[in-house]
């Protein structure tokens, strides 16, 4: 389908003349209402040197009041204009300070064309390379390098050519198939809309021409696929709604639904409130099938000819978007279209330097940083590589507590490991094993500060269970750190991994039919939630051992608080690192209460 909208991303700072360039493009294509233009003749930024009564083009692309005070833009702003062939151009403007990479990645994720501004009076700077690297990473199709302010340099050809030669060297290691260099002046209006009279040595396209001549690259025609967005129901009607990608569907096509792998045929296609016989790429449709199939939101419909390679392990590049750094082994929600599943970054392979494209070793990823990672999903997905499909190769990571969007990822390739391991079902299962012991398998997860009394309580509970003939086991955080977890320290990432391993061991023991008592600080809510998600409803009992920190310090059974206070233990919970109180524990016991009372409380939940 012909694209009616072209999206342009502008890269550069106000100093490069970005706002002026876009402002001029809008005014000269008559895309701005005249009253708005009038207001830009009156308003002035502090320090502005533009004469009263002249248009300050740069004011046309700014937004919120805070920005006007600071004289800079802070987010992504959008502007719209009509191209001569009737298509619409949406210009997104990402600002140029510390949240830059994040904002630019947001704007670049949907951009067809990237407009990279170079201030000719300053030459190629590191930010230019950063812009090109991000355009390349986010799969921007065409890049226009606008070499601006040539009016201030006598419109000299040699300056333009030097900058072009420098950049072409850097471009050779990037994935940018289509780059156009244009010499121009935003202030004087050379080569923006009309050809410049001052640079007859340049015979190429003006900025507007370079934008208008862009066409979407010929799609790598694969098999059509559609993610189910909504199951639509009416009387005697059940259809599956979504948007078709990478091909077309026809009535009577045989399709497969993933993950159920059921095969059926399309009996009806509804688009635009009509029944149609076929639908194209990028159309929003509702499909009806010949047979009743098992399908819900987030499932995938593909042509049955397509061989799917579901995987739960991927190599991906991630742009980190949030102040709280990416933590290896922590569980996040992965959203890919309407598909959602918990996912964990299992390894940060390296960071990508946005200025040089070089790789540096890393164990974490802070805001605005880009990393190459391995990611594991809880359920297998059928993602494609980003270079093949932006739509099916992207995902975002969402914090499981605040639901903030924290990361954006591009699949490089899937790791096939997942496919080769299938879950073996055994006939003697958890229920059978637990029944043999006349008990219900459960995990009692005791969380709390060091010295709060977790081990003491676990010990007392287990003694009572033993006396009643129950089969149990205690997983003690400290004890496990002497063996299984001996390689882990106390950084948030190591703690996340520590909790992950302990919860996986607990899961094995629950499967053996045991009552498992876990005594572990587990200071982060996200890690505890992930642990809980491994177990069936009602199987995981979170017990918060809520002992005031003063009491823990006074007790200090292992002398750790003393040591931490002297700076000997950097990541000590409650001193160098926070303890996140459980939001909705199943049970709260006080470590300074009567031990027997606490034990009885817990036993009541178990038996």
């Amino acid at each position: 389908m012909e694209k009616a909208i072209v999206r342009l991303l502008t890269c550069g700072s106000v100093d490069d003349g970005k706002s002026t360039l876009i402002g001029r493009l809008l005014v000269e294509t008559e895309s701005i209402p005249y009253d708005t233009i009038e207001s830009t003749k009156k308003i002035r930024r502090s320090g502005s040197t533009i004469a009263a009564g002249e248009i300050d083009f740069s004011l046309l692309t700014d937004g919120l009041e805070a920005e006007r005070e600071q004289g800079i833009t802070i987010d992504v702003a959008y502007r719209s204009m009509s191209l001569l062939d009737g298509k619409r151009l949406i210009i997104s403007d990402a600002p140029g300070h510390e949240q830059y990479t994040r904002n630019m990645a947001v704007a670049a994720s949907r951009a067809d064309i990237g407009l990279v501004l170079v201030d000719a009076t300053k030459g190629v700077r590191t930010q230019t390379l950063r812009h090109l690297t991000i355009c390349s990473l986010m799969g921007v199709n065409r890049v226009i390098v606008a070499i601006n302010k040539l009016d201030a340099l006598g419109y000299k050809q040699s300056i333009f050519e030097d900058i072009q030669a420098t950049l072409e060297k850097a471009l050779s290691r990037m994935q940018l198939p289509d780059v156009i260099f244009i010499p121009l002046s935003a202030l004087a209006g050379d080569n923006v809309v009309g050809k410049s009279k001052n640079m007859d040595w340049y015979t190429g396209a003006t900025l507007l021409e370079a934008i208008q001549s862009w066409r979407p690259p010929a799609a790598d025609v694969g098999q059509a696929r559609m993610r189910i967005q909504l199951v639509s129901r009416a009387e005697n009607f059940r259809g599956l709604s979504g948007t078709v990608h990478l091909g077309s569907f026809k009535v009577a096509d045989e399709v497969r639904v993933f993950p159920s792998n059921q095969i059926t045929r399309i009996s009806k296609i509804i688009a635009n409130q009509q029944e149609v016989s076929a639908v194209d790429d990028l159309q929003a449709v509702t499909l009806v099938f010949e047979s009743e199939i098992d399908a819900t939101r987030g499932d995938l419909i593909v042509s049955s000819k397509e061989e799917l390679h579901p995987s739960d392990r991927f190599n991906a590049d991630i742009v980190w978007l949030h102040e709280d750094a990416l933590i290896q082994s922590r569980s996040y929600l992965l959203l890919a279209g309407s598909t959602q599943t918990p996912a964990t970054v299992t390894r940060i392979k390296h960071k990508i330097d946005v200025h040089t494209g070089g790789e540096t070793a890393a164990t974490d990823l802070g805001m605005n940083e880009i990393g190459s990672v391995e990611i594991a999903t809880d359920t297998p997905l059928t993602l494609l590589s980003y270079s093949k499909s932006r739509e099916f190769g992207n995902f975002i990571l969402v914090d499981r507590l605040t639901f903030n969007t924290v990361g954006a990822g591009m699949i490089r390739h899937s790791l096939r490991r997942g496919e080769n391991i299938t879950y073996q079902k055994y006939e003697v299962n958890k229920g059978v094993r637990a029944a043999q012991k006349s008990q219900q398998a459960k995990v009692i997860w005791l969380t709390g500060l060091s010295g709060s009394g977790k081990s003491t309580i676990a010990n007392a509970v287990e003694k009572r269970l033993y006396a009643q003939g129950m089969h149990s086991y205690v997983l003690d955080g400290d004890n496990l750190r002497m063996g299984l977890n001996a390689d882990l320290g106390f950084t948030p990432a190591d703690r996340a991994e520590n909790v992950r391993r302990v919860s996986e061991v607990a899961k094995v023991l629950v499967d053996a039919g045991l009552i498992v008592l876990v005594a572990i600080i587990s200071p982060f809510e996200a890690d505890r939630r992930r642990a809980k998600s491994l177990f069936a409803e009602g199987e995981f009992i979170e017990v918060f051992v809520d002992t005031p920190v003063e009491i823990c310090v006074a007790r200090d059974p292992k002398g750790l608080y003393e040591k931490a206070a002297q700076g000997g233990i950097p990541n000590f919970t409650g001193i160098g690192q926070e303890y996140q109180r459980p939001i909705a524990p199943n049970l709260v016991v006080k470590g300074d209460d009567d031990l027997d009372a606490s034990v009885s409380k817990i036993l009541k939940v178990i038996i």
């Binding site: 009253d35 708005t36 009041e65 619409r88 929003a284 992207n394």
Partner: protein
């Protein structure tokens, strides 16, 4: 819209009777056909809307087979506030912003679809398609979730609600072109007709009923006018026009090049007014 219907417990669609709402309603019909629109429409009635708006609303909703919820801030009515005895911004806050918050709370709507567009006003250029509102419907423009590709984060933390702007990227011309292309019925007030108007400064105000306080000796004159946006009649200025068909309107919109909200008295108040209203909960 499908995303909203699928992801939320109690979504609602704002219906303000204007052309953007007509387009939203049409899109909703298309998105869910043959099923009916799976969420109710919400109209915040200030009691000062044009009579033709209310009539049109009831017809359009009935035709779509949709459910309509109308909410008025009764405390506001009881306090006697109206467009003449309070400042325009105070009146709007009480009868629109507060009323909207009341309605969202009363019906426990967790997501509200609105027809705002980025081209209408500068601060709207910063909205996401899925824009989170904190508890109390507060908008924090500095703390908005980044939105990439078409991968929308629809999840809500406790206390948060979502505002959804499906036609954020559209412009006024797009709206009219789409109305033309799809033959969508829009309110007759958008078409030029001789209407009783008075002059207030440079603005033309239509006198829709006898509640409008006229100056001594003043009588409304009949002038051929139409409206570019619809709202409360004392606050929505008309423009002189002869455009009686959609084609003529599109030609006029292309030619006039006047920011459409300039005919709404409220936004002229000061340059930052929309952002302030939005951070309090306005659409």
């Amino acid at each position: 819209m499908r995303e909203t219907a699928a992801a939320y417990r109690r979504p609602v669609m704002m219906y303000s009777i204007g052309k953007d709402s007509s387009v939203l309603l049409h899109l909703a019909k298309k998105a869910f056909y043959p099923a009916v629109i799976p969420f109710p429409l919400l109209h915040i009635d200030t009691t000062w809307k044009f009579k033709e708006m209310i009539k049109f609303r009831d017809q359009a909703v009935a035709k779509a087979g949709a459910t309509l919820v109308v909410h008025t801030n009764q405390e506001g009515i009881a306090s006697g506030i109206n467009p003449f005895n309070a400042s325009i911004s105070e009146y709007t806050r009480v009868m629109k912003t507060v009323a909207l918050r009341q309605a969202l709370d009363k019906y426990e709507f967790d997501a509200a679809i609105g027809g705002s567009r980025r081209d209408e006003e500068k601060s709207r250029a910063k909205e996401r398609i899925f824009s989170v509102r904190e508890a109390g419907h507060k908008w924090d423009p500095r703390n908005q979730r980044p939105e990439l590709w078409h991968t929308y984060n629809t999840r809500l933390a406790p206390g948060q609600t979502m505002r959804v702007f499906p036609i954020s990227d559209w412009t006024e011309v797009d709206i009219w072109r789409y109305i033309m292309q799809e033959q969508i019925e829009v309110n007759p007030l958008y078409f030029a007709k001789a209407r009783p108007v008075i002059r207030r400064g440079v603005q033309l105000i239509m006198v829709d009923d006898d509640r409008y306080p006229l100056n001594p000796g003043e009588t409304p004159e009949l002038i051929e006018v139409r409206f570019r946006t619809l709202g409360c009649y004392p606050l929505t200025a008309a423009v002189e026009s002869k455009a009686q068909t959609l084609t003529e309107i599109v030609d006029e919109v292309f030619e006039v090049k006047l920011s459409e909200r300039a005919t709404r008295l409220i936004d002229g108040a000061n340059e930052d007014s929309m952002e302030k209203k939005k951070s309090e909960g306005y659409f």
